[in-house]
């Protein structure tokens, strides 16, 4: 159960997953809240569609599908890094306060700064101020945790401090909400529900760059990650610089999750659950497999969630976060029940 499965079958699984990803991506372009014929969608993609068909495909569906792939992959890899770093199956970007830090940034901006500087929703500053605030919030929390991590020898203390910090941040956000008016409250609540649409290609580029950078660092950390699974003492004996590894992993996980949260709002559940799904599918603990596997599974799941959230054909939508949680939680429950616990993999 612990060793990696044979290379051949892992390769086959990867091939199938990539195929699934491609199919879902295509399906996400083909189906939406309004009906478009397949040939109209194809024509629009190659620049020869009707004017409105082209806007719907190129400005609504394509950016959303791209965002789903990037955000899903980033959240999953971030979660994987956190779980291995803390050797805890429940760790994830939300547990360490990265998501709530981003939320605090947004809440502060939305509820105090924008009214103070009278930046109105829709003004050029508004969209970017939310994104920068989320980034800054995630960054501040990450810095605090890294400072603690640099001083603590025991990684479990860092996890607990992260949890406490997340709790304190939620209280501050509640306090801000308590003193804010209904419009701002609604804005914030809708932000917390997650959002994949309404991103310009410019924003998608920036998100993609941040995620690519984070993923590249994560790939370079595959060896120390595998060593960490064998325990910290073992890691030291094979020459892993524990302190440095920790800091790099924390920073990488925060860049990934913080960027996604900044642009899309807190995407629930993916970070914690997807690495488990990847472990289950590949029966492996090898990060050379788990890293790309988590990324692809994350993208697949967010695409599926997006497909469901548009309630195809009805015109109405539900928040994507509710879908990721509702389809994801049963999956995790099933894994835990089927494996009689997942703790011993760490």
């Amino acid at each position: 159960m612990n060793g990696p499965t044979s290379r051949l079958s892992a390769g086959m699984i990867f091939l199938m997953l990539l195929l699934l990803l491609f199919l879902l991506f295509a399906l996400d372009l083909l189906s939406g809240s309004t009906h478009l014929e397949m040939r109209d969608v194809l024509a629009s993609l190659f620049g020869s569609g009707t004017e409105h068909g082209e806007i719907i495909v190129m400005q609504f569906r394509l950016p959303k599908a791209l965002t789903a792939v990037i955000a899903g992959a980033a959240m999953a890899v971030s979660g994987l890094l956190m779980q291995t770093l803390f050797r805890n199956p429940l760790a994830g970007p939300d547990v360490l306060g990265v998501s709530s830090g981003a939320g605090l940034g947004v809440a502060l901006t939305l509820l105090t700064l924008t009214p103070l500087l009278s930046i109105r929703s829709g003004s050029p500053l508004y969209g970017w101020s939310m994104i920068l605030a989320a980034w800054a919030g995630a960054g501040v929390v990450m810095t605090v945790i890294m400072t603690v991590a640099a001083r603590m020898r025991d990684i479990m203390s860092v996890l607990i401090i992260g949890l406490l910090l997340a709790g304190a941040i939620s209280s501050i956000v509640s306090l801000l909400q308590y003193f804010s008016n209904e419009t701002m409250l609604k804005t914030y609540v809708i932000w917390t529900m997650g959002n994949l649409g309404n991103m310009s290609y410019m924003q998608i580029k920036i998100l993609a760059l941040a995620v690519a950078a984070g993923s590249a660092i994560a790939l370079l950390m595959v060896k120390p990650l595998n060593a960490l699974l064998m325990g910290e003492i073992f890691s030291k004996t094979v020459g892993v610089n524990l302190k440095r590894t920790r800091l790099i992993l924390l920073a990488t996980a925060s860049i990934l999750a913080g960027s996604v949260t900044a642009f899309c709002g807190p995407i629930a559940f993916l970070g914690v659950a997807v690495p488990h799904i990847a472990r289950l599918i590949f029966s492996s603990n090898d990060h050379r497999i788990l890293m790309p596997a988590s990324a692809i599974c994350g993208a697949v799941i967010l695409l599926v969630s997006d497909l469901i959230s548009t309630l195809p054909g009805s015109g109405q939508i539900v928040p994507v976060n509710t879908v990721t949680s509702l389809i994801g939680i049963p999956v995790v429950l099933w894994i835990i029940a089927g494996r009689k616990g997942i703790g011993r993999r760490f």
């Binding site: 809240s33 109105r120 209904e182 015109g315």
Partner: protein, 380 residues
């Protein structure tokens, strides 16, 4: 309710087959009779005592009924009436939880009864703002964060609340345990602007200005119906109207049977979602709304946008809409305070005729050539 509308529509459709030349008029007349009356309250006067019944006072309430007896000061309360349901009129100290309540009292010249209000920073009326700044009208806080001690200390005869949901209403109801009488105002749930305006009758009864309230209501109603009839009798085509603005992935769509839906229809507009009937707004995917919006002629109330650029900054895809390119975009931000108080959310409730004039002037400028926009402005 819905079934009866379908039935009505079916009958009207049959009828209109026989008299196709004036079918529009007949269906509108018949529907107006059903829709313009307030449905959420009823009054029953007997001797000097008025029985006020408020039906389904908050969203998604069904079968909920609140009964009050308005008894003049000094009058003996009949034995069969429980004293806790009695409100002595005229009241001299009232706390208002909504700016629309302030507007009703202001229209009646009864602002001296306002003992406190909620959301005072968003009040538009200049004389009320003065009272607020001078501390004559203190702020009692918001629904979730009511200053209960202040409310009790203000010793109000009445607290005029509005309930968004049963649970939030429960908080208000707790105020009555502290000896504060609470009435739920459900005007915002009325589907027709005239029905919403009709609630001024309750304010009239409460403040001893019944005649004034009744005459105000009938003048406004007469004016409104006259304007609506003028539009119906004209040969103007009905421009397609897009309403609201997207918020991230979501575009909340008011159904055709809503306050604003009724206004657009009465002003001679063709609401893009006139096939949608629902008890409240529904979340639509922006893509779906965009598809319909491509055939809009006029765009009204695009969120909080104060200019065309703001709409573009918020969602650049909207710039592709013909209605955006034509610049026929209007928002209700003509009368605002720097703090964000908007008269549209205040006096428009008691002046639906003025609101309708604005919309007619936007949709059919030829019909009201001399009208100057009051609540609305064209975005640049």
């Amino acid at each position: 309710m819905r079934f009866s509308f379908i039935l009505l529509a079916a009958i009207l459709a049959l009828y209109s087959c026989n008299s196709s030349d004036n079918s529009g008029k007949i269906s509108a007349d018949a529907q107006r009779a059903v829709k313009t009356k307030a449905t959420r309250f009823s009054l029953e006067e007997k001797d000097d005592i008025t029985r006020l019944v408020i039906n389904d006072p908050w969203q998604n309430a069904s079968g909920e009924q609140l009964v009050f007896y308005l008894v003049p000061h000094g009058e003996v309360i009949p034995a069969k009436i429980s004293p806790e349901n009695v409100i002595r009129v005229p009241v001299s100290r009232m706390i208002c939880m909504s700016t629309t309540h302030l507007a009703a009292l202001s229209a009646l010249g009864a602002t001296d009864v306002i003992a406190g209000a909620s959301g005072t920073n968003l009040v538009y009326d200049a004389s009320l703002r003065k009272s607020i700044e001078e501390g004559i009208i203190p702020d009692v806080g918001y629904e979730g964060s009511l200053d209960r001690e202040l409310i009790v200390a203000l010793r109000p005869d009445l607290l005029m609340a509005y309930g968004v949901s049963a649970s939030s209403s429960e908080q208000m109801r707790k105020m009555s345990d502290m000896g504060v009488k609470v009435i739920f105002n459900a005007d915002y749930l009325e589907e027709h602007p005239l029905a919403r305006c009709e609630w001024i009758k309750i304010f009239g009864l409460l403040t001893g200005k019944k005649e004034k309230a009744d005459s105000l209501y009938s003048a406004v109603t007469e004016n409104y119906l006259r304007l609506a009839e003028m539009v119906r009798d004209s040969s103007e085509s009905r421009p397609a109207v897009l309403l609201g603005a997207p918020w991230e992935d979501v575009w909340y769509i008011s159904p055709s049977n809503s306050y604003i839906g009724s206004l657009i229809s009465d002003a001679g507009g063709q609401y893009l979602f006139d096939d949608l009937t629902a008890p409240n707004s529904l979340p639509f995917a922006v893509e779906a709304v965009f598809r319909r919006a491509t055939r809009a002629d006029v765009w009204i109330n695009p969120g909080t946008a104060g200019s065309l650029d703001e709409i573009a900054e918020y969602d650049h895809r909207m710039t592709k809409l013909a209605v955006y390119k034509s610049g026929s975009v209007w928002n209700n931000r003509n009368r605002m305070t720097p703090a964000g108080g908007n008269d549209y959310w205040e006096t428009a409730v008691v002046r639906p005729d003025l609101l309708l004039s604005d919309l007619i002037s936007i949709l059919h400028p030829r019909l009201l050539p001399d009208h100057e926009l009051w609540y609305f402005m064209k975005l640049k």
